[in-house]
Structures are given as C-alpha cells and as structure tokens.
C-alpha cells in the first residue's frame, strides 16, 4: 500500500517536472534550453510510461 502511494506521488512529481520542461522549451528563446529540454523530455517520458 505504501509502495503504491509512493509510486503515485513519484509519477505526479515526474509529470509535473515534464510539464515544466515542455513549458520551458516553448517559451525560451535560447537554443541550449530547447535542445537540452528536448533530451530531457525523452528521459522523463520513458520513465513516466513505466515500460514493462
């Protein structure tokens, strides 16, 4: 039960951070922000999908 609650909290935090990264990519006018953000999206999304 505790594990499930922690997992849900973890995924919520993950989704929030992913949303922030996407927001930064769209609003920033710096190339480095966009490219690093695009790479970060890959990692966060793969983790969020919990591929098994």
């Amino acid at each position: 039960m505790l594990y499930t609650i922690l997992m849900v909290i973890y995924l919520i935090i993950l989704a929030f951070v992913l949303a922030m990264v996407v927001w930064i990519i769209f609003t920033s006018k710096k190339w480095t922000d966009k490219i690093i953000g695009a790479i970060a999206i890959i990692l966060f999304l793969l983790r969020l999908l919990l591929i098994k």
Binding site: V22, I25, F26, K29, K30, W31, K34, I35, G37, A38, I39, I41, I42, L45, L46, L49, I51, K52
Partner: protein, 383 residues
C-alpha cells in the same frame, strides 16, 4: 541563429520539431526495450522428461518474469541414483554459462540418475543490458540449421522488477553487508527468502529445488573478465565437493585443459558454492571461464567481442602479462565448461562408486568431446 527564435512562428515550428524528434526517440527506444524484454526464447530438449517451473518451488514467482523453466531429464534405464543440477544464465552477460546449459539440454542422454537443467536462472537479467555498457542485446551462433540468436543481458536483476533497493544489502542468512548492486545479484542472494526481494525469491526457488529433490551435485556456470584472478577455475564448497574438484582437476589437466581449483571462501556470503553447500546436502561447484566482453579493458563492445573474445587492448594486456587468463572464443569457453561438468560427474562416480554398483553412478552420455567443440564449434551441436 538566435534571431530565428525571436520570430514567434519560427520559434513555435522549431520547438514542435524538437518535441516531435523527442517523441520519435521515445517511440523507437521504448519499443526496442519492450521488444527485448518480451522476446521470450522457448528452449527445449529431445530427451526432456518433464518441465517444471520456479513457481513450483516458490509460489511468489507465479506470473512474474522470474518463473523460469526447469528441464528434467530422467534416466532411461533408471531415474534412481545420483542427480545433477546444471545452472546456466545466472549472469546473462556471461554467455557461455547459458550456452553450455543449452548444449546439455539439446544433446544430453541420461542412462541412470536425473539431470536438472536451468538455462535462464535470472530471467529478469535477460530483459535488459547493463546500463552504460553499450553492449549488443543479441549475439549469433551459426548452426547446421541456420543462424541461432541468443540474448546478451545484464549481470543483475532489472530495476523494473526490483526497486527500490537498499544502499547496503545485508545478506539475511549471515548478516554480512554487501554493496547495493548485490541486492540484484542472484549469486549473492542464496539461500534466498521465500518473500524477500525478487532476486532472493529466485534464489529461494533454486535452493528449494535442490532440497526437495535431494540433488546430489550442483554446478553453477559463470564467466569472469580476463583480469579477474578466479578464472578458468572450479570453485568448490569445502569438504566432499572440494575432493571431487581436486580429482576432476587432475584428470582435466591430464586431458590438456588447464584449470585450477579454489575453495569457496568463508568470508564472502550469498554465493551458490558457499550457501548451497551450507544449506543443502548438494555438492556445490561453480565454474569460471575467461570472457573478454565482461572486462574493463576492452574497446568497442561488439557482438564479435562476445563470440571471438578478440580485442586489441586485451591483446596488449596479455603481452604485458597483466591478465589472469587469456581471453578465448565462446566455443572454447563452452567446451571448457562442458568438459568440466562431465569430469566432475566422472570424478563423483569414481570416488563414490568405485566398484560400479547399480544405480550408484550418474551415467550421462551423447555429449560431444572437448576437441569436437573446439574443432567444429558449438553451433554443430545446437538444434
């Protein structure tokens, strides 16, 4: 370049392209991981009497990736008598262990006694490769029936199947403190716990298999990097197993196979040769061969490195006398394991049944010889 991003429309297009690129990478890599994890091999053997599952010995493994097959070959004349467990696939990045077990599965005939064969001891470790190694996921062995592809996996249980893990792994049976990554190492988890971490549950199933079937001998097949000292060796539990290993060593050396014996150290816990010898009546052995793909010195990690063992950096290290064992081809590594298993059985028979009483020896046959495999390659003897 920055001016491009000042324009709102251009900024949006570029951003969308980057996000789309990310999604493509997610799709490709996610699918590749999913396919690799679910790429299930169906091993079989012509003389298998029955197939059991790990969950028969630990119900906590039902409907999990850890529910591996146990292939049982009973003697055609009599299943009574000594028995043997060949344990392959404990560390999927040590391919000759699994390949040797498959070779026995697909060729072995048992006349007296029973042989148990496990080809994927830690199936979770076959679902991913070691992070940051950049290793291939598969390797090929040409056979008379075409190319056969095998999975190359990780040393340890996947995080997907066992997480979170403690920073320090306390081996439950002994209280010894081991590193965090050993929580996911099957060969530090024996004798296991029925409801422990995933890896401990797998270890428990194997231990129970041995106890419930009163398996006489257990041989755990491994590989080691060429710079590692315990190499081309039989590690045996102290006492009777060590006597057999010493006998086997003599005859292997006489046959031209250089090997050494080591006693299972009492100050390193969780390993098969230590714990299975302590907690069961089995004679516990572990065999090591020299695998360049496991080492730290090699260059680019290719399929050829796994199969041929050839690497210019290891060649240089060998010239400088820095290696404990020469890197060898997978054919030689499998041949060595196979010859060692057969000799351990012969040595057991010689020591425990010198007058050849009925049903007191484990009689196995139909395996190729060491020189056969060295000359023709293992592919000739695979289905």
């Amino acid at each position: 370049m920055r001016n491009l991003l000042e324009n709102k429309r251009t900024n949006l297009i570029i951003t969308l392209l980057l996000v789309l690129g990310s999604l493509v990478v997610v799709w490709v890599t996610g699918k590749q991981y999913y396919d690799f994890r679910h790429d299930d091999y169906q091993f079989s053997g012509p003389n298998v009497t029955r197939v059991e599952k790990f969950s028969d010995y630990n119900p906590n493994l039902i409907n999990t990736i850890g529910d591996s097959d146990i292939f049982v070959i009973e003697g055609s004349v009599s299943s009574n008598g000594p028995s043997l467990l060949i344990l392959g696939g404990t560390h999927p990045n040590e391919p000759s262990g699994q390949l040797t077990s498959v070779l026995f599965l697909e060729n072995l005939e048992v006349e007296v006694g029973t042989v148990y064969i496990i080809t994927e001891a830690n199936r979770s470790a076959y679902s991913a490769t070691n992070p940051q190694e950049g290793s291939p996921m598969y390797y090929d062995i040409p056979t008379d029936n075409g190319v056969r592809t095998f999975k190359y996996g990780s040393r340890a249980t996947s995080f997907v199947d066992q997480w979170p893990n403690p920073d320090i792994f306390v081996h439950p049976a002994s209280g010894q403190k081991l590193s965090n990554q050993d929580t996911r190492n099957l060969n530090r988890s024996y004798p296991g716990r029925i409801d422990g971490y995933y890896t401990e549950r797998v270890a428990y199933a194997i231990t129970q298999l041995i106890i419930q079937n009163d398996i006489t001998m257990t041989i755990d097949l491994h590989e080691a990097s060429p710079e590692y000292m315990t190499n081309n060796a039989i590690v045996a539990h102290p006492g009777a197993a060590m006597n057999i290993a010493s006998h086997a060593y003599l005859y292997l050396e006489l046959a031209g196979i250089t090997i050494k014996t080591e006693t299972s150290p009492s100050n390193l816990r969780g390993l098969s040769h230590r714990e299975l010898g302590l907690y069961t009546d089995t004679l516990a052995f572990l065999c090591e061969t020299s695998n360049a793909s496991q080492g730290r010195i090699h260059g680019i990690f290719t399929e050829d490195l796994i199969v041929s063992g050839e690497d210019k950096f290891y060649q240089k290290a060998e010239e400088l006398g820095l290696l404990a064992a020469r890197p060898t081809t997978i054919h030689e590594r499998v041949a060595r394991h196979m010859a060692t298993i057969i000799q351990i059985v012969d040595s057991y028979n010689a020591i425990y049944n010198p007058t050849n009483q009925d049903n007191q020896s484990l009689i196995i046959q139909n395996m190729p010889s060491y020189s056969d495999v060295m000359t023709n390659g293992i592919g000739k003897y695979l289905q």
